[in-house]
């Protein structure tokens, strides 16, 4: 079946280090992906998106990489800060499918 999933349920990083969150998808026809951040008690917040005609897209301190060959995307956060602590979701939009989420915990 089709799915969007995250490899690890939790990720703990030291403040100032770079974080990498990975996500796999199964639908090879997927053409639009989004990363969301969700803080406790809040709705998901858009971070960055990428379409299938791109391999890489950069934002402020964040980079999304898309590897269509292995159906994998990743979110890289540079110089991770305590405010980055949250649950991160990848979403594949052709069928409105969201991964379960990974909790990023930043150690001071």
């Amino acid at each position: 079946g089709e799915s969007v999933g995250l490899h690890l349920p939790t990720l703990s990083v030291q403040e100032g280090d770079n974080s990498i969150i990975n996500c796999a998808y199964s639908n090879s026809a997927s053409d639009y992906f989004i990363w969301y951040k969700q803080e406790s008690g809040k709705g998901p917040q858009f971070i960055i998106d990428i379409r299938s005609n791109m391999d890489k897209r950069q934002g402020q301190r964040v980079t999304v990489l898309l590897n269509k060959t292995v159906k994998h995307l990743s979110l890289q956060i540079a110089a991770t800060q305590p405010g980055d602590s949250a649950v991160y979701f990848c979403a594949e939009y052709s069928k409105l499918t969201f991964g379960k989420g990974i909790t990023l915990s930043v150690r001071p």
């Binding site: 989004i34 709705g43 998901p44 979701f89």
Partner: protein, 113 residues
């Protein structure tokens, strides 16, 4: 500017009662989505409205669930004869068009006693 607004923020009700959850999308957004999020889980798609087209109801878990969107703006999600397994956070999102980033409200936390 105003984001997606959901009300109530919390709802506690007894099993068997009906509940209505409201979503005010961002003005001008043509697409509106409802999701359910259980504790520690990802988002489960429920229903999607796009303009005046017939809604995509493929995610509704049972016929106790229904939703409408009046005038292409405000949407109401109704759950009839609530069950304890309906307890979850119900999230609404809107986007300018389909296949554009969705903007989420903070959800309604529904607790069925």
């Amino acid at each position: 500017g105003a984001g997606v607004s959901q009300s109530p923020s919390n709802k506690v009700t007894e099993k068997g009662k009906d509940v209505e959850l409201r979503c005010d999308p961002i003005s001008g957004h043509t697409a509106l989505y409802w999701y359910r999020q259980s504790l520690g889980q990802g988002l489960e798609f429920l229903i999607y409205f796009q303009g005046n087209s017939a809604p995509d109801k493929s995610g509704l878990p049972s016929d106790r669930f229904s939703a409408e969107r009046t005038g292409g703006s405000v949407s109401t999600l109704t759950i009839q004869r609530t069950q304890q397994e309906d307890s979850a956070v119900y999230l609404c999102a809107s986007s300018l068009h389909s296949n554009q980033p969705q903007h989420f409200g903070d959800g309604t936390r529904l607790s069925i006693l």
